[in-house]
Amino acid sequence: EPEVTQTPSHQVTQMGQEVILRCVPISNHLYFYWYRQILGQKVEFLVSFYNNEISEKSEIFDDQFSVERPDGSNFTLKIRSTKLEDSAMYFCASTPRIRNTEAFFGQGTRLTVV
């Protein structure tokens, strides 16, 4: 069964450093997402991406965040200068169409900022 894959599974970084989280969405999907889950809290939407541009973003997704699809398979989330409060699970998801469809989630990357 096709799946969304994320790397690394765990990333530890020092405050102020840049991190790049990587995702390989399901190959025939067209819409890509990043969500965040702070420990013990709900899953929060960060950004959606379609046709090589951001289609929606939340208040969380400020200028420190950026997304990119550098090639035909990868989808990345970059945090330019990490803060302690960026520590969370980051989930990538993809969907075959824009609405009324299941979002397939990856296993997540646990980001720990120290």
Partner: protein, 111 residues
């Protein structure tokens, strides 16, 4: 963001019993809902979905009920098994392509 909240943060059931997990949503314009299961250290896993033009949908051992009058969703799991132990989230699709997730209910199945 939209308010998608769960009534109970934890639920314990005996193996073999039925489980009911509830969810309230605040926006009557939401037209698509998904229940996700999340096991420890894993990403959300799709269980079942329902569109707003339906009030009930059944899957394998699971049923989702939608009451648009009171903006309430429930997930019923029949004959709950130890493998059902997880956190369950309802997610609401209002506009565009983002989902709003509830806080989650932790289901523990007692053997």
């Amino acid at each position: 963001g939209e308010n998608v909240g769960l009534h109970l943060p934890t639920l314990s059931v005996q193996e073999g019993d039925n489980s009911i997990i509830n969810c309230a949503y605040s926006n009557s314009a939401s037209d698509y809902f998904i229940w996700y299961k999340q096991e420890s250290g894993k990403g959300p896993q799709f269980i079942i979905d329902i569109r707003s033009n339906m009030d009930k949908r059944q899957g394998q051992r699971v049923t989702v009920l939608l009451n648009k009058t009171v903006k309430h969703l429930s997930l019923q799991i029949a004959a709950t098994q130890p493998g059902d132990s997880a956190v369950y989230f309802c997610a609401e699709n209002l506009t565009g392509n983002q989902f709003y997730f509830g806080t989650g209910t932790s289901l523990t199945v007692i053997p």
